[in-house]
Symmetry: C2
Subunit: 199 residues, 2 copies
């Protein structure tokens, strides 16, 4: 790409694999790294490698957990351990956590079933989720994304739940807060209408 | 932010300073780094530190240049060394280069004059630019951004040019290709109208 800048090319190639750093942003981010003080770049690398070394996944909920630290959710006595919210990844967990409206625990699947990308149920943490369900579990909230893959994953999980009495719920579908019907896609309006609720 | 994940917090704090990685993107990018193979993270850090170590700025045009390599522009015999295009940063240089329509050389200012941010002419490479102008220079293209800062910088440069006979040009202002007047801001339409050209 830049014949006279081989080490820049090497870095660009790796940076390109980072999500959101396509085309235009890529050069701005590269300039950020090239312009920073060398010590700050070293600090950045240290922090990255230390995080990689120290952060693992909780053996119960599969969200991030630091070595020698308890899991922020599974070990929190203030959280309702009987309600489990199933999410595809950590980012969705954070999105739910940010609402401040959820006090139960989580289960991070690690993705969604997608045969085209070679992701089957075995690649996800569905088996540990099923094993995790016990008599104390009162509700399982399926908060996978509203995509074909996310919904197929939710359906698959439902089919695997042994206790058919367990309350299984999913997120409400409908018109996003602050938006007007005019600008929303047809299917969302249809779902909002067919799944309408008493005022 | 995440009391049980101190090394994640440390990494997040540094990642937050990278442009384009605000709020939502931040978590996705963090997940990308946490999910990658440890060897790949090390490779990323190596590439970054090597780029930091090997890439300096060309002493003439101040664009990136690798140690032991010639400057891609100043040392290119195929490029017209008598035409100098002044840009604020490397990203703008790349944007012009991508058009494939420019064969002269560049001068990277390293920003634009912005008194509010403490950036005066001395912080930029304006003095080396003026020194660079000689009798062989045929044209100076001022391609600073169409912002108050960019335009003030261009005006400042013009005031410092010793050779008043030198052809100094700036980029055309007007309606972007592919856009319709209806959606363009008033000032751009005004400029496009007042700076209209023969068809």
């Amino acid at each position: 790409m830049h014949p006279d800048l081989p080490s820049l090319n090497a870095f660009l190639k790796l940076l390109q694999q980072v999500p959101y750093l396509a085309s235009k942003n890529l050069y701005r981010v590269t300039a950020h790294f090239l312009n920073m003080e060398p010590q700050r770049a070293e600090k950045f690398c240290q922090a990255l490698l230390e995080a990689k070394q120290r952060i693992t996944k909780c053996a119960i909920c599969f969200s991030w957990q630091e070595v020698n630290y308890p899991c922020s959710w599974c070990s929190a006595s203030a959280r309702d351990q009987t309600v489990i919210c199933v999410v595809e990844s950590w980012q969705e967990l954070i999105a739910i956590e940010k609402t401040g409206g959820y006090t139960g625990v989580y289960h991070v699947l690690g993705g969604a079933i997608c045969p085209l990308e070679g992701i089957g149920p075995e690649q996800l943490t569905i088996e540990p989720l099923i094993e995790r369900l016990n008599n104390e579990t009162t509700e399982l909230i399926l908060a996978t994304n509203q995509t074909p893959e996310g919904q197929a994953t939710a359906a698959y999980i439902v089919s695997k739940i042994p206790n058919k009495q367990l309350l299984v719920s999913c997120l409400a579908r409908g018109v996003p807060v602050g938006s007007s019907l005019e600008y929303i896609d047809r299917l969302t309006v249809y779902k909002a209408l067919s799944e309408r609720r008493p005022f």
